[in-house]
Each structure stands twice: as C-alpha cells, then as structure tokens.
Symmetry: none
Subunit: 210 residues, 4 copies
DNA sequence: TATGAATGAGGCTTCATTCAT
DNA sequence: AATGAATGAAGCCTCATTCAT
C-alpha cells in the first residue's frame, strides 16, 4: 500500500510537472504553435514520456483547462459559502477577487477556452476527460447561479433573465475587436485586462444591485 | 475602358466568392483545421486559384477581418453622424443595433480576432494589408470613443476612465468559461449570444447613463 | 506566296523575341528559377503565347542552345576556311577570337550546357530539336578537329592522342558545349574526363615549367 | 562517456548514410530532379528522418560540397608540405594526382559547384555552413597559390600575371570549385573569365606548337 | 493569333505519435 | 518508467500547361 501510494503520488507529481511546462509553452506559442517537442524540452523530459501521462496533445491541453476550472470551482464555492454574512458590495467584491485570481492563474484562459470548443479537439478526448470538463463547467455555472440567486432571494440583487449570468458580452465583442489596438495603447496587455475587469465590475455591480 | 472595368469587377467577384467560401469553412473548422483544399472545394475552385487572389492562407483569413472591420466602421460612422439628435437611450440602442448586425455578419468574429493577434499570422501579411488592419482598428476605436465623448460632452453619459470603452470584459471572461456549457443549455448558440448581448447592453446602458 | 512568306517571317520574328527574353531571364534566374510567367512578362506577351511557339519550357531553353551552337559553327567554319594562309600563331589567335565571341554571345553558356545534359530535359524535346542539337554538336566537334588536323598535317602542331584535339579547349570551354556528344563518342564519360585531365596537365606542365 | 561517444558516432554514421544516398541520387537526377522522397528511399529511411540530420534540401546538398572541399584541402595540404623536396615535374605530378582523386571522389562536382553558386541556394543555408563553405574555398585557393608561389620562388616555375596562379587550374578543374571565391577576388566575373581564357590560350598555344 | 485565368499534380517540410532499447 | 530516433501522413504552395474567349 505504502509503495502503491508512493508510486501514485510520484506519478501525479510528473503529471503536474508536465502540465506546468505545457501551460508555459502554450501561453507563449499558442496551441498550434507549440509542439510536443517544445513541451518536453520545457519539462526536461523526452517527447515519448509525455505520452505516458497524456493520451495525446489535445488531452494534455484540456487537462490544463480542467485544472483551472477546478480552481474556479474552488473559489466560487468559497464565495457561496461565505456569502451569507456579506453585504451586496462585499459579495460582488468577493466574486471579483475570485475571478481576478483565476485570471492571474492563467492569463490566456480565454484563448484556451476558445480552442477547447473546437469539435476537433473534443473528438480526441477520452470520455472520462470529456465528462470531467462538462461536469466542472456545469458546476461553475451552478455556483455562479447560486451566488446570484441568493442575492436575489435576499433582495439584494435585482432579478434578471437566468442566462444573464454570463452576459455583458458585448465586451466580448467590441472589446476584442479592439484588442490589438488596445495593446498598442496600453502597452501592457496584462494590466489592461485587469483594469478593464475592474471597471467592468463596477458597472456590473451598479447594474445588478438594487 | 469598358473591358478594363469589367475585368476588375469580375476579379472582385471572384475574390468575394472565395472569401464567402473561406468564411464558411473557417467558421466550421477554425483556422488551423481548415485546409486550403477545403476552401477551394467549397468555392468550387482549384487550390491554385486561391493563390491568384490571396498571397497565402493567413492573408485570405485576414481579408475576412478587414471586411468585417470595414462594415463595423461603416456602422459606427452612421451612429456618430446621427447621434446629435438622439436621446441617450436612442444612442445606446443605435450602437447596439450596429453591433448586433456586425455580429450577424460574422458570428465567429471573436475567434478570428484572437487568431489575428498571433504574431505568426501577422508575419505573413503584406505590409499593405497589415496597414489596412491597423488603420481600421484604430478608426473603429476612435469612432467608438467619439460616441461616448459626445455623450459625455452633452452630459448624457457619466464620465469614466478613457480605456473603459472596451471594458466590461469580465464577460469575455466568465461568459466564455461557460461558453461550452451555455451552448448545451441554450442549444442555440446564435440566439444565445444575441440575447446575452441584449441584456448586457441593458446593464451597460444603466451603468453609463447618468 | 507573298502572304505566306510574310506570315512565316512574322512568326520567326516572334520566336526571336521570345528567345531574347528567355535568354535574359534564364541568365539571371537560371533554368529552374525562371518561370514561364517571367519570360512572358519580359517578352511582353502572355504565358499562353509562348506555347504557340515552343512546345514546352525545355524546348524553349534548348532552342537557345541551338542558336549559340549555330553561332559557334559559323565561327569555326570561318576559322577552318581561312586557316590555310595563316601561321600557327595566327590560327590559334583566330580560334581564340571565335571562342571569345561565343562566350560574349552568352556568358552563361556553360551552365546552360550543363542543364541540357540532364536526361529529364532531353526527354521533353521533340525528335527534330534533339536531332538538331546532336547534329550541331557533332559538327562543332568535327570543325574543331579539322583545325587541329590541318595544323598537324602541315607540321605546325605536334601530334597527340586522337582525343586530345579538343582537349584543352574542352576543359576550358567547348568541351562543355560538347559534353553530351562527347559522352556518346567516348561512351565512358568517366575515363574520358580522366584522359582529358591527363593530357591537359601535360600541356599545362610544359607551359608553366621554365 | 562511452554512451555519449557511441551516440555521436552513430549519429555521424547516419549522416554519412544519408549523404551517400543523396550523392547517388543527385548525380543521377540533378538537384532539382531529385526529390527528398527519392533520397529517403535510396537511404532506406523516411523523408522525415532526413530533416533530423539536415535542415533542408539545400543544406543536404551543400554538405556534399563541404565534404569534397575538405578532401580537396587535405590533398592540397599534403602537396604543399611535400613540395620542398620534389622536382618541378614531381610537383606537377603530385598536384595532378590530387586533383584526379578529387574528381574520382565526385565526378559531378562541377555541376554541383555551379548549383551552389545560386543565391537561392545560399539563402537557405545556415550561417555556420555558409561560413564553412567560404572558409574551405578560401583555404583551397591559398593552398593552390602557395604551391605556385613556392615553385616561382625556387625558380622552377615561370612567373606570370598575379591572377594566373589559379588560372589554368581553374579552367581545368578547381577554378570551378573556387568560382564563388574567385568572383570575390576579381570582383568582375566576366572580365576574369576572359583574362583566364586569354592566359589559358597562351599556354595552350605554347603546348601545341612545335 | 493572342490572352490570361484556371488548373492540379507534386514537392518540401512539419510534427504528433510510436516503439525498440 | 524513460528515452529519442524514426515514422509518414498531411498541409501549404508553386508553376508548367491548357483552354475558353
């Protein structure tokens, strides 16, 4: 048992090592630009070894998303559990903090999520991993929903169309159109997103609070 | 003269034919997934022909973005020019309509814009095309800015951090994390985005209006 | 007949126009680097037109060699015919002048002749053109031979290995022109080159030693 | 240590295996006619494998030239070092032997050297390989020069136009090897060829006249 | 006769994946 | 378990050649 356990732990450590390397390489070169060779090199392993831990490139990539969705879930759970004693402002602030941190955890999460949608990617995933992805997404959505439902139930938030959770998407829209240009203007892509997030949240809070 | 003109027109028609096919294929398979062969087949042309009208795959792709940015500019100009006689609500509505239509024009614009950022893509573009892209982006930004500046100048809108134009991006964030799941729930991705956009705009308007 | 003749003449003019352009383009870009499009542009014609005058790219290329071989023959004939009244020194000078001029006529003749050897090229030629090439090569060789034979017969030149006639010159210049033909004659390219090298070196040694 | 060494050796063996196959294919089909697929087949490897040992087709091709230039250098060094105790006749014979062997080593060296000149080829080489090529060419030229200079210094050889050192030899053989370098030295390729032709002819005349 | 748009075969190259060691 | 050399499928792109006008 001890040995069994130790082996399992060792295996998990390797997986993490590879994922850390993969994340680094993917964020620099993007999914298509990154080669398994690149990732192996970054992880100081050989290409063949990656395949002992991940079925293929798509699955390695998706595992990163799993990890960040797990982190998102964790943070959202925390917000839900602590929400009861907080004022609306505090709840919003708490949610904002959570999302900030998720973003810090992986600044290119957006691009990754886009890639994840592609049916070609999904086709290559093992049923288990696919199930995990769906489960985590659903869970995140429910948790987010719960935060708002609680707020509404207590009369702190105004009621709204159930889908509105993920709203405000016009920014998805115009914001991104101007992304490239914005980078030029702000000259620090990372901070810009954070600033924008901050401002967006202000407006969002104003919109959702009574 | 007549012949010259006719040929030019014919050539432009071909370009459009290819772009229409490319748009269709790219939106189904994504940039990497789509092959030039696919696009040629969709356009009922041979692969070689594509290269008579577009220098390479990246340039064909980017030309699609040029087209939508031109359309965006057109719509924004219209909003700016008509803005003077409108109430704040009408202005917002007018802008919303414009963005709706842009979205209708190309629902996968977001993904495209993400791809466009990649330096690998930009490397392959002709200087002319690159300049056009930058020019159009900048112009869009200025027009958007003008709409809000006018609103603020007239006292209709509350003043805000200058970058805030493209803000509200947290939706890019949470919205997209949940994108995949949302699709499952709504089961009609296109309508969902439209609904979301609508709601987002409501909130947005509430945030920006005095 | 007058019309017939005029048409024929006109046709020949066009052929020349194309060959002039081809020569220019080939000498700048080499055979592989030059495209039919390039040549058409240089000739201020359309690509399709080239095929009205030349069966294919290889045949267009080879026609240039035909032309220079014709010129070489012309010059050699002139040397042979005038040789009788000249001193040995004058004969050599005369031959030298002829070869100079051939070289001036087309400085990249060597490279062209190399290309011409390739069996892939020869495969694409019409039987007529192939026969012309062989005939001209053989004729040049015979003429060169005659010059030396005459010199030997008159006791002006020292006798030498039968192949040695065109030897040195081969190495310098015409050998390459006649490469293809030489191969046929000697039927063992490798040994021939070695023999030639041997003889050349003898002469070379004689020239350089005090 | 042993393992490291064995791997390096194994790798070098593979490189040689590929180069041998490439040499065979190139000499039959020429550079353009030979496909990487052909070479892979000849080497009983897959196309992809070639790229583990050579950056691209041009670099594989050029590596063959590197090899023969190295061999040429080796032989020339040997001639230079042994020259002191030899009579003029022996020196010439020694040089002849060296050049014979180089020719035996690769009978199509001339064609290869022609191809190597093309700027399109040089563009695709790694700086390292390019530097090696230039270095070896220059070295060969110097060694050749040294042989003649020594001969002249000792009074065994007649002095001649400074360019004449490599002249005749150029025409016969190595001139082509050193073509690229010669161009740099003379800085006027066209005139250089003419000069060389002139000198060659002088010697030629001296050799053939009684 | 001349055009030039269109074709499509084929080459170089990359890279995810495998497998013998 | 780890390696990393080898594979080979597949994509982008070029360009000689054709053919409808």
């Amino acid at each position: 048992m001890g040995i069994q356990e130790r082996k399992k732990r060792e295996r998990e450590r390797r997986r993490q090592q590879i994922m850390v390397a993969a994340k680094r390489v993917f964020s620099v070169k993007g999914f298509t630009g990154a080669t398994m060779e690149d990732i192996a090199q970054e992880a100081e392993l050989s290409p063949g070894t990656l395949y002992l831990y991940f079925k293929n490139k798509d699955e390695l990539f998706s595992s990163l998303s799993i990890r960040i969705l797990q982190y998102l879930n964790l943070r959202l759970e925390h917000v839900v559990n602590n929400e009861k004693e907080l004022t609306p402002d505090q709840k919003i602030a708490s949610l904002r903090e959570a999302l900030y941190d998720v973003y810090e955890f992986d600044p290119v999460i957006l691009i990754n999520m886009f890639h994840l949608q592609s049916s070609d990617t999904l086709k290559n995933l093992s049923p288990q991993l696919l199930a995990d992805l769906k489960g985590l997404s659903r869970s995140s959505l429910k948790l987010l929903g719960k935060i708002f439902e609680d707020g509404i139930a207590k009369g702190d938030f105004i009621e709204r169309h159930p889908v509105a959770l993920a709203d405000i998407v016009w920014a998805i829209f115009s914001g991104l159109i101007l992304w490239e240009e914005s980078k030029r203007i702000i000259n620090d892509n990372k901070n810009y997103l954070k600033q924008t997030l901050e401002i967006a949240f202000e407006i969002f809070a104003r919109g959702i609070k009574k």
